[in-house]
Amino acid sequence: MFNPWTLARPVLFAAFLAGGTQAAEKIDFNRQILPILSDACFHCHGPDPETREARLRLDQRDGLFRTREGVTVVAPGQPDASELILRITSPHEDEVMPPRKVARQLKPAEIDLLKRWVAGGAPWGAHWAFSPPQRPAVPVPADPQLAARVSNPVDAFIFARLEREKLAPAAEAPPETLLRRVTLELTGLPPTPAELDAFAADRSPDAYERVVDRLLASPRYGERWAWDWLDLARFADTNGFQGDPERTMWPWRDWVVNALNANMPFDRFTIEQLAGDLLPGATTEQKLASGFHRNNMFNGEGGRIPEETRVENVFDRVETTATVWLGLTFTCARCHDHKYDPIAQQDYYALFDIFNQLSETGRNQGGGQVPPVMDLSTPAEQERVKRANAKLDALARRVDAFELKKFPRPEGRPVADSPDAIKLPGNLYATHAKVEPRRRNINGLLEALPHFQATDPDPEYAKLLEEHIAAVRERDNATARITRVMIMDELKERRETFVLTRGSYEHKTDQKVVGAIPALFRGAAEAGGARARPAHGKIAGPSGADSPPAAAPGEPRLNRLDLARWLVSPGNPLAARVTVNRAWQAFFGTGFVKTAEDFGVQSEPPSHPELLDWLATEFVARGWDLKALHRLIVTSATYRQSSRVTPELLERDPDNRLLARGPRHRMPSWMLRDQALAAAGLLHEQRGGPAVKPYQPAGIWEEATFGKKTYQQDHGDALYRRSLYVFWRRIVGPTTFFDAGARQVCTVKVARTNTPLHALVTLNDPAYVEAARVLAQGALATATDDSGRVDQVFRLVTARRPSAAERDILLRRLATLRGQFAADPKAALQLASTGEAPRPGSLDPVEHAAWTALCSLLLNLDETLSRE
């Protein structure tokens, strides 16, 4: 009926997750026991006192090994004397744990494991992720052949594990596959044929390493890696919610790209984004960086209570910080102590206090641009605004003087008070007469002008209105050039923070809390190094001395800068681990810890715990150098393996957690679009600046905003900018992307699904059809015959030449397509004219259309869509 392998697989999987062979009875508390206790027991015997039963805590050593009234919970070496074992094996309804009515029951295998753990002496340890990473010794594979393939310590760990699993790594991927993989990975764009040729011709032993260095130095690197950061920073060009007003945060996005390109150390990258504004003598750039925590959504819905919005925003900042730098879910602790992780509600509000000092009020006065904002204009731009305003003022005074005669009324009264004003038609009474000249807007003036030119002519007044229009236009143009961006600031008078009952802004308890790192890490800070230990409110960060006093002397109240510095200090056991894990996830599809957003007690144990810690310590030792980390990973033999897979290996390790083969994944949709544009030669590589609006089906914005927002598609080069620069309206998102983060809340996990709807996008979205027809133009313009053209396009999208069989399929298909389009030249021309890129009139529409269809086909090959 079913394949026995499908059942055997999980057993092997269990064995390898457990991190060792089954023969040796060495039970790892952290990886094998703690997850069971957490899942089945902590709800009632864990960190949350509200739900704690029998005053028993199993999440702490004291509680687990406690003896009270002659009853010992766990007696090491004596399962029969351990109440825990007696309870979980009890046949009596009223004794057995977990109680029968509870959904989570222990499985026999789990009970057995717990028994063996106690029998084996019940070794105990805190959850691994809460202790600082210890640098493990780099293993050496026993097999000398395998050892010879080790390119750097990454391989040593991976290969040693494969050896234990009796698996062998795959051969190195073919050069063109490798070049495509690493080029897409590091820059988000495919290699050019010239780059492929150069790499194929380069026989030097360090050819690959030099390619990697070239890619890391490319400005495209920052554009590629910014995407992942924007997803977790919930970056968008609008506020979200009703009306979805626009905001200007692209200067912050450009800051991220530049920082990544400059390889800003990740600790500095962290500190500047969390607290750049608080650095002593903060530069404009550093203040701009602090916009990280202004990227959250902002609810300006009518009837909304501002304080509620403000508090929601602080929640978002706390929780995003916890996800990004701690890999922990703090959300539960908004309302109560965490059920599984040792995070108290008090800890939550201690972080809340740190983010509670922003001058934001929750009121939305500036449209999308909610204060505090920073003016980023140049002196010349500011000068232009000043001049335009002065000119407008002078003109308004002349208009005023003239109108005193034209619309007689007592001085100091508006035109509206003049009996002559009542006669004004249409909106003019409201937009003209009731508004003083200085404040009239362009639309009202444009309506007034024809009235006084033609309907009720007054040439002198009309001339004045023309001048007025010009002055208002100039003022509008000048102010439009002023860029203001949302940043963080700190209230002079600090807000007091109280624990909120069930996270409700209205229900403050009388429990006052001040900024502090979570208690869980205070021990770790002490263990991890005295430097990170908070003393009198001061935390020495990695750079030490420039830390300003956090609060009044004697009051240990931390601020954002203290927190930021602590996050990247040795006192935080998690920042380096979660960062390294996200990088691993980006390259291999899954992180060591599968749940990139959760390293807590409930998370699955890491697949390669030693390597995770080795990389984390290496990352820090190299000065939080992201490019060095990426280089280490992509130059490993592990990464360079072929992604070819045998049925046996697929059964054994379907998700490729062991890495006996290279990674192979469908690329993110934004990268697919960039690849298509690049292959077609359409890509317009302009870096930074305001977002662009490429093709989008009609009506999408209108439907989402009750007709208030109309999508004004761009033209020309803007259509071909990288996906990073596509305008992101938060409530609908760009239609051309799929499986993309919603940019509403912090997202660190990659989505990779496979549905017919995705196929419809890459087959039918005009962006892809246009890329296909421009690819066709290129092929028709350069190569001489059909075979040559097929080879050329095939190579542009897959980096390799087609096999004879593949070429044959494509040429036969080309022939039938030619026949079809020849029968319908009108349709042919229509297809060959998709999009706004120029089309040479000399091209035969039938030939062009047949090639367009063929290029579209090539853009939709599994190999094209995958990073192989």
């Binding site: 979200g240 749940t595 017919p756 397509l817």
Partner: protein, 494 residues
Amino acid sequence: MRDLDGLKRELEHTRLTAVTRRHFLRHCGTGLGALWLATTAGAVDRLGFARAPAEPLAPLPPQFPAKAKRVIYLHMAGAPSQLELFDYKPVLARLDGQDCPPSFLEGKRFAFISGVPKMLGPQFPFHPSGQAGAWISDRLPHFERHIDDVCFVRSMRTDEFNHAPAQLMLHTGSPRFGHPSLGSWVTYGLGTENQNLPGYIVLVSGGKTPDGGKSLWGSGFLPSVYQGVQCRAQGDPVLFLSNPADVSRPERRRVLDAIGDINREQHARHGDPETLTRIAQYELAFRMQVSASEAMDLSRETAAVHARYGTQPGAESFANNCLLARRLAERGVRFIQLYHWGWDSHGASESEALTTGFPKRCLEVDQPIGALLSDLKERGLLEETLVIWGGEFGRTPMRENRNGQEMKFVGRDHHPGAFTVWLAGGGVKPGFSYGATDEMGYNIVENPVEVRDLQATIIRLLGFDHHKLSLPFQGLDQKITGVKPTRIVREIIA
């Protein structure tokens, strides 16, 4: 095309294996299955089955036998007044125009009411109707013919009093963004019966997306295959459904054949099962182009049907969407979500006044809802289709007085404390009413039903324990009903 059968066989095998696994795991809670559960959370979910990666929407059996196979959810965005439709309050009528008692205002917050508002009696006459004599106003005569088919819950309450969070609460269980919607959970649990159509379809009327935006049908932390697909009246019903520029079906077929051929070469060489999945999804896309266009094409219905629903092909009306809902239900779509708009009867303008805009909204939905219920019943679909009607909260028994002043039009403010929903078909008790509010319609006095209780009940009607329809994320078994105590309203289940 030629290898499609082989591919289908392969997929069928995977699917069967998945179902077998599920069966195995369900019935053997110990041994290997249990070990699997313990080690591969994610690949196998808490319901105890592995999903075939090639067919994430393949139909799956529910946990328990269930009558409801699909859902048609009619959401009236803006929140219709229960006091003008289903919750008859003669005492309130008597107190019309009097000052609101202070006890109603203490410790309460409102979106717009300030100071001391006046009480506002029902704006339309009520009468008892149907065998059970349920009270209903005169605004919904077509619907009223089905009053013995539906089950009213008059004691709904929610925690949120603004549109977007309240809509999110209702559809995703959380007022914040990032959580999967009910339709996503349901398609995640049950897959869908027709692989040529999306399993979860959203239809908005008048081209007006509700305040909560498309997060209302988002998949949150569930895979994005489970997110709702908005079908539009304008342009392609599904984004990018049409071939570009007159590319014909045969041309597209040939292109897909070649893609399939080369992908098979690739699979033979490389061995990644994802490549087979890709082939399958391209085939599905090709079939969906026909199926979705056909399903969404109302011109295929007879004049009599159009007359019954009041539909006009090409319009973006609620009537059209009701007829589409029936067509989609017939074709095995699992979750069909409709949004109507304009029910936010504050009285700030004519279009949102209880006396002007509100009756118009009633006219827009009454005949189509009546037709939908009749049509489903006649086709034998009502039994297995759960139809739900309601808004995101209710409205105050006080007249809205924005800035403490009497307004030009008559309206009511948002009221999370009490509202009415009705359910029909799919295993709910017909001709039954549940719960009650006080004589002003302000507070619930009998059988309160939280939003999460309603969700748990809907999920139960579809054959799941809401605790089990869950996914581990952020260290928690996430479920739509959240962490607060939740009860299934068994009293309304037939």
